[in-house]
């Protein structure tokens, strides 16, 4: 893997930043130009990410270094792991942009919305390609700053309260993260990510402080990865418009946290050191607790989006669980779930948004007979729901399978029990939804919703179908090259030779 100084990483990051600034500057009136700008930026970014993917595939790692603070550079380094997350973000950003243009038809301040929307993706790209913890932190905070305006977009009292809780958690976490970062910097000096853990090479004996550093940084990541005690902001943030909760909870925010944990364990501490310090087990327990606790809470929710939110809380912890257990197979399981969960959850949020806009359906008991009225959306929702439960043809099954196999390979059999329990719980809170939609008779009058033009409905239904299609494709074609699974295996091969 030869490192080559290359402008591509910074170009990828800047594309959506410039697009965001341009869109915000355009103002409310020029709606058509904004849509064009939005879409071209999304397509351009997807192209660039694919270009980098090709480069990485034939062994070239583009690097962009920029002096930020004496002793710590802003380093953008596109290795295979970052491509996994970057490609996920690029694809889903394009799809979500289409959905958002349709969904936001009757909202105001759209210029501001799409401006921050693009900056949000810029931050995600930065996080994906961060080459060291400081760069990661810079974009991690930029993500908080860019997503907050989206959460409080409507400006209603509830939205502001949600924003306030969101900030309380994220900024609190970032303060601890920064202290941990400073401690690590004081202890081990500048630390660029090295596959297999940069700390491992230093044979540091200060185990106590290393543990403390890990806990501090893990809390910082855990806030966004919605590990249990730090997850409370996620359900309240459901007040935001649907594309925001879709992007935030499927791609940007939640995944950033999980991705951070992966980087922390894989690239900073390294699997070996993490296990040696007993942190792997601790993280695994926390993740497992989150999985179960999240699912139990999801059961109790009557509002559709809140149930999806709690399901996200539990699903994301699979990734943390995979990386915490260690071992190649579990790592593959964790990493591939990063993509699969993203695709599945975004479909469900798209459909939830469509139900709410077109039919005014927000509660679960209002879902009866929905399939008759919106067959395509219902189908997409069902595919994603079954995928989340982990039924074979869908992507969910693949990642759960690898997680289980990885756990057994490493001898952590109790993890299998957790997986089985969570699958049952998933079934418990998703199957009733599907059955209501398909089997129950439709009510004579739907609670509300507007009758938008054909274009708008298509703009909302088609993206959900695309992502549902991906869910199936990632499951069925898992074995082929270029699939997320294959990519995850290639990554794992780098980390655990």
């Amino acid at each position: 893997m030869t490192e080559v100084v290359h402008p591509l990483p910074i170009v990828v990051v800047l594309v959506s930043l410039l697009a965001g600034l341009a869109i915000a500057a355009l103002g409310e009136r020029r709606q058509r130009l904004r849509t064009v700008l939005n879409l071209t930026a999304a397509v351009l970014k997807l192209g660039l990410v694919l270009w980098i993917a090709l480069l990485v595939m034939d062994g070239v790692v583009p690097v962009f270094r920029f002096p930020l603070v004496p002793g710590f550079d802003l380093l953008l380094r596109a290795d295979s792991l970052s491509i996994l997350f970057a490609s996920l973000s690029a694809v889903l950003w394009l799809v979500t942009t289409v959905y958002a243009i349709a969904y936001m038809e009757h909202y105001d301040n759209r210029a501001r919305f799409f401006g921050f929307f693009s900056i949000c993706v810029t931050a995600t790209m930065g996080i994906a390609m961060a080459g060291n913890l400081l760069t990661f932190f810079v974009f991690y905070e930029l993500l908080t700053l860019a997503t907050w305006p989206l959460v409080v977009h409507t400006g209603s009292r509830a939205a502001l309260r949600a924003g306030r809780t969101y900030l309380r958690f994220t900024l609190g976490g970032s303060a601890l993260f920064l202290v941990g970062l400073i401690w690590l910097y004081a202890l081990a000096g500048t630390q660029d990510f090295i596959a297999g853990g940069s700390l491992g090479l230093l044979e540091l004996d200060a185990h106590a402080s290393l543990r403390a550093i890990f806990v501090l940084i893990a809390i910082g990541m855990g806030v966004k990865a919605a590990l249990v005690p730090l997850h409370a902001w996620l359900p309240t943030a459901m007040v935001a418009p649907a594309p925001v909760s879709a992007l935030l909870h499927a791609v940007a925010v939640v995944k950033a946290g999980a991705f951070g944990l992966v980087r922390l364990v894989a690239d900073v501490f390294g699997g070996g050191l993490t296990a040696e310090l007993g942190l792997g087990l601790a993280l695994a327990i926390a993740a497992s607790f989150t999985i179960v606790y999240g699912s139990v809470l999801a059961l109790g929710q009557s509002d559709l989006k809140r149930r999806l939110a709690y399901s996200t809380v539990s699903q994301v912890s699979y990734i943390a669980l995979g990386i915490a257990i260690g071992g190649p197979i579990a790592t593959v399981g964790g990493m591939v779930h990063l993509v699969h969960q993203g695709v599945m959850k975004i479909t469900m949020f798209f459909c939830a948004g469509t139900f709410a806009t077109l039919l005014g359906v927000t509660r679960i008991d209002e879902l009866d007979g929905l399939a008759r009225r919106l067959p395509w959306s219902a189908a997409a929702f069902s595919v994603a729901a079954l995928g989340m439960i982990g039924l074979p043809p869908m992507a969910g099954f693949v990642s759960k399978w690898y997680l289980g196999a990885g756990a057994v390979a490493v001898g952590q059999t109790w993890v299998v029990a957790v997986l089985v329990a969570s699958t049952l719980l998933n079934a418990a809170y998703f199957l009733p939804l599907v059955s209501r939609m398909w089997l129950r008779p439709a009510p004579d009058r739907w609670p509300g919703g507007s009758q938008p033009s054909a274009w708008v409905t298509a703009g909302m239904v088609v993206p959900a179908l695309v992502t549902a299609g991906l869910t199936i494709a990632f499951g069925v074609l898992a074995g082929s090259t270029l699939s997320p699974l294959d990519w995850a295996i290639a990554i794992a091969r780098e980390y655990v030779p």
């Binding site: 002096p67 004496p70 930029l142 700053l145 209603s156 900024l171 202290v179 910097y185």
Partner: protein, 486 residues
């Protein structure tokens, strides 16, 4: 070349002010712009010389240190000059709109403004204790006059309180200068540093001078005058007061402490200054959160941010020095932007009570964005200059095993986040249904546009400072205080 540059820095704005007093009104605007535009080119040779590691010295009237006054430019002085020129140029852009030179208000404002700029530069160049007194006095008097320039009762009361306390502070400073002169026989800061030996007398002299300077820099127990003075002053004035004038006093304190032998006052004195700083950070941030008026909130934020500068004394390491100087620059730019944005919002909404800010985001987007960007730097979140300063300060505190300082810094920036987001979230809230003021006439519209652009440019500079921090840090490292190894 550097001699002309030094002369230009001080005498160009001074000449501008003098000519503007006598010149007809029509010529006022070009004079103001011309005298300010000569400043950046004057800085180029100085920065190049300092970056080349050379200490630029200019004995005025040809008489060397103990006898005459010497202008001395090292890395710290150049950094402060760069900050001063950057802030002054952009805030003057705002002042051109809010105080049009050809109008009566402009005629009163601009001469005082240019003299303030000239005296600030004279202060940063000088290394003579009594000359620092005279320049600081001139800066304070010009500041007070500018606060009261619009003649509003509340502003005049704040100006009076600032003047009285400023004069008392100067007397304490003079007492200390007399003592130092009595002991060392010279007024030149560097010679005083060499000749001063530790002793009871030195400690008392430093204590007296520190009291005076802390009063002028409004560090917490002596901060009574600042909130009203900066809160009630017109936009551009409060911006320069918070960004530069308050810093000048701290600049002198740093010069005295590290170059002038003040450090010999001992560990406990340094610790006391640090504790005062920590007190400032916590108390003022809490007070800022409790404020109900926008500009008062920003003024209390200044008090809090000044506390960080005081942490330099207990830490006293190269890392801490680099962090604090960077913080001074980052805060200067961000706070100037914040005050300009606050002033614009105040003028647009007619009242500065925070509730009236509701829904300002949609109609006054530019000003809210400027306030938010400046807020990002004040909170010390990446990618802003404030973040780099916070990072350097935390790293330095960690190096010196100052766990308490680490906690104070972290809590301080969290509190800052509370009051910044309190304002920004109001701007995002739904507007209260009340009639929007009629859009002002075209020409006024142009002026309002210029003021918003000025605020936004400063805010953007604060963010860019975060990314382009390396050259500035290299410049600061050029002139570490004596005896402070890298």
């Amino acid at each position: 070349m550097t001699t002309e540059a030094l002369t230009l820095l001080v005498f160009a704005p001074l000449a501008g002010a003098l000519v503007m007093v006598v010149a007809p009104r029509r010529a006022a605007a070009p004079i103001a712009v011309l005298s300010l535009l000569t400043l950046p080119p004057a800085l180029v040779p100085l920065t190049r010389a300092v970056r080349a590691g050379e200490l630029v010295q200019l004995p005025l009237a040809g008489f060397a240190a103990p006898l005459g006054i010497v202008w001395r430019v090292d890395a710290l002085a150049v950094t402060m000059l760069l900050l001063s020129v950057a802030v002054v140029l952009l805030v003057s852009l705002h002042a051109l709109a809010s105080f049009p030179p050809e109008r009566e208000s402009g005629q009163r404002f601009w001469p005082l403004w240019l003299i303030l700029v000239s005296s600030l530069h004279a202060l940063f160049l000088s290394a003579d204790l009594f000359n620092l007194y005279v320049t600081l006095e001139l800066v304070t008097l010009a500041g007070v006059a500018l606060i009261a320039v619009r003649g509003e009762p509340a502003a005049m009361r704040a100006a009076m309180r600032y003047l009285l306390l400023g004069l008392m502070a100067s007397l304490f400073y003079l007492l200390a200068t007399a003592l130092l002169y009595g002991q060392t026989g010279t007024l030149d800061l560097y010679l005083v540093g060499e000749r001063l030996e530790a002793g009871g007398l030195t400690a008392i002299a430093v204590a007296l001078m520190a009291t005076g300077l802390l009063l002028k820099a409004a560090i917490v127990p002596l901060h009574v005058w600042l909130p009203a003075a900066h809160g009630k002053a017109p936009g551009p004035v409060s911006a320069v007061l918070s960004a530069l004038v308050v810093k000048a006093a701290l600049y002198i304190l740093i010069r005295l402490w590290f170059w002038g032998g003040g450090g010999q006052a001992g560990e406990h004195a340094a610790l006391l200054l640090g504790v005062l700083g920590a007190l400032a950070i916590l108390y003022a941030s809490a007070a800022a959160i409790a404020q109900r008026r926008l500009k008062m909130l920003v003024a209390y934020s200044t008090l809090a941010q000044l506390g960080y500068v005081m942490l330099l004394f207990p830490l006293a390491s190269a890392g801490a020095y680099r962090a604090v100087v960077f913080h001074v620059v980052a805060h200067g730019i961000a706070k100037a932007a914040m005050f300009l944005a606050a002033a614009n919002l105040l003028r647009a909404l007619g009242s500065e009570r925070l509730q009236r800010l509701a829904g300002a985001g949609s109609r006054h987007g530019l000003d809210v964005l400027a306030f938010a960007l400046a807020g990002v730097s004040i909170m010390g979140l990446p990618p802003s200059g404030g973040f780099v300063a916070k990072w350097l300060l935390l790293a330095a505190a960690w190096q010196e095993r100052g766990w308490a300082w680490v906690v104070v810094i972290s809590v301080g920036s969290l509190l800052a986040a509370v009051y910044v987001f309190r304002v920004v979230s109001l701007a995002f809230a739904q507007p209260l249904r009340e009639p929007e003021r009629a859009a002002s006439a075209g020409e006024e519209q142009g002026r309002a546009q210029l003021t918003s652009v000025a605020a936004l440019l400063l805010a953007a500079l604060a963010i860019v400072l975060g990314l382009a921090s390396a050259p500035l840090i290299a410049l600061i490292d050029q002139g570490l205080p004596p005896g402070m190894l890298r």
